[in-house]
Point group: C2
């Protein structure tokens, strides 16, 4: 297999990748998204940028097998059309797949960002070799993607894996989605940040690290927990507990071999997050399911956007 | 496609079917399981019974394409080996697939009963034509099976779909599985029966219908609710509510097109169960997922065991 191209369209940054089916990057570039107000124009600029990167990498367009694109929801993945993501102003039913297909003359595959990240961790990262994988990322929000039976499972409107908005407390904390008690309302970065700024004691090490309570973020909790700050440890224990609640549902319902956790779990690491989460999940799922399960930190780190887009291209070719 | 044979091995009854790929039954028979104390002997007797039924149906064994078998968990579906189901005394690692393959000389496929029922409702019943389906049955326990992306999803050790033992109340009611707060502890027939016998007021219509509180069963609640008994209506509302909690997780996580509910939901019907469940699910899931979702009563009724076994045979041939 030859060259794969990738574009990861985020709300703040666009990442471009020239790589291959093993996830190797020959060239990569990242720039601010800076939407023009018209999605089609933004895509045209991205096509120019990607062409330039291909040229800089010394790659001939004839060697390109496919382009993969990771975009924010909602989208229609069958037609490769981005509908109207709240964080991409001016994007309304943008036919990303057709525009790129015309430009590069190869198959183009489009997935939402959570599915693309799941594909990346499965093809190139922590979930390599597993057949049944749930991927969960907890950055601003909580996103998820599912590899089931050795392929991406999309569900209706490609929106499977929205575990972030399933209820871990019925009628619990209000969530930004308008519902209550969602997993995201307990473990999403934005929700946790709001909570921390309300309840952090002024004397906490976390507050000191942030400079002020108004500047507190999950990263300060992780740093303060590492040096034994009581408030930070209690907050992280609560975070771990709710993450475990979500994983228990996934394990009982889907019997996966691996659950891969991104972002905050990776930052907090083994002792502060992964080990306590594993213990709580094992205590609540059936033993034979717990025995078969691995809960792993995501492996791709800052290369995720590039690899996510390449993963979409690879999966598109693979699944035919 | 020619003739399909099926055996549904339950804890109390064995069902035999001679049918076809459309789920039509040419002959069927049901008898008590009466375990001999040795699984291999029980299977040999079943083989004789099935051979006799085939002969009675006037079918030649040369026209048989496959045999499907539905068995209680746990099993190893790849090898077709039944491990040690608590309700089949004397069954320890019984090689059902190999024994039947030797007897009939055609491919034999083995699935657990929940997966087999899901396949039956998908191929022949309420879920026909859908690509993403969750099937939930709430008889004694709560079982589930998943059709995802147009095929049965099994997960690790073919144990996906155990939504009955996912937590609808964290640290809630004790469940017979040893955990707490499981969906089954709220909506499973056995758990509900125990609760009813403890809390039913002597004056309730349900108690009168049962003869005594000790004889109360979910069916009496359904009958009493139909004539407006307050206790029965409150109990059914509670039951509907917890069923809806379980479905919400399934919908947010898997974005299915259909959720098919068996047993108690079918008995209670549209007004008493399905409509209130639909309303509560719609109120809690994302609107576009609710719009795409159908919550349907299982359609196969008392023919389920025969059709479940035929569904296993059909799916085995279909999936190759």
């Amino acid at each position: 297999m030859g060259v794969l191209l990738g574009i990861d369209v985020g709300g703040t940054k666009v990442a471009f990748a020239v790589g291959d089916a093993a996830g190797n990057l020959r060239a990569s570039q990242r720039r601010p998204t800076s939407p023009s107000g018209r999605g089609e124009i933004d895509v045209a600029v991205m096509i120019d940028d990607l062409r330039r990167l291909v040229a800089e990498a010394g790659v001939s367009l004839r060697d390109v097998d496919a382009v993969g694109v990771s975009v924010p929801s909602p989208l229609d993945p069958t037609r490769g059309v981005v509908l109207n993501p709240p964080n991409l102003p001016g994007w309304h039913e943008v036919g990303v797949r057709d525009l790129l297909q015309q430009a590069f003359g190869v198959p183009v595959f489009v997935e939402n960002d959570a599915n693309a990240a799941a594909l990346a961790e499965w093809h190139f990262g922590a979930a390599r070799g597993f057949e049944h994988v749930a991927y969960l990322t907890m950055s601003t929000g909580v996103g998820g993607g599912l590899i089931l039976g050795g392929r991406l499972y999309r569900g209706v409107l490609a929106s499977a894996g929205e575990f972030g908005h399933a209820p871990v407390e019925w009628d619990g904390e209000p969530c930004s989605c308008g519902q209550r008690g969602c997993l995201e309302a307990y473990v999403g970065g934005a929700a946790w940040t709001r909570r921390l700024r309300q309840i952090a004691p002024p004397g906490s090490r976390a507050t000191a690290l942030a400079g002020s309570r108004e500047a507190l973020k999950p990263e300060h909790i992780v740093a303060a927990a590492r040096v034994g700050d009581a408030f930070a440890l209690a907050e992280l224990a609560r975070w771990n507990h709710y993450v475990a609640r979500g994983i228990v549902w996934i394990v009982m319902g889907l019997a996966p071999q691996a659950v891969v956790l991104g972002t905050i779990a990776v930052a907090a690491g083994e002792t502060l997050a992964l080990q306590p989460i594993r213990e709580q999940v094992r205590a609540r799922v059936w033993p034979f399911l717990g025995d078969q399960l691995q809960i792993l930190p995501a492996a791709l780190g800052s290369t995720l956007p590039y690899r996510a887009a390449l993963g979409v291209a690879l999966e598109g070719l693979r699944a035919g």
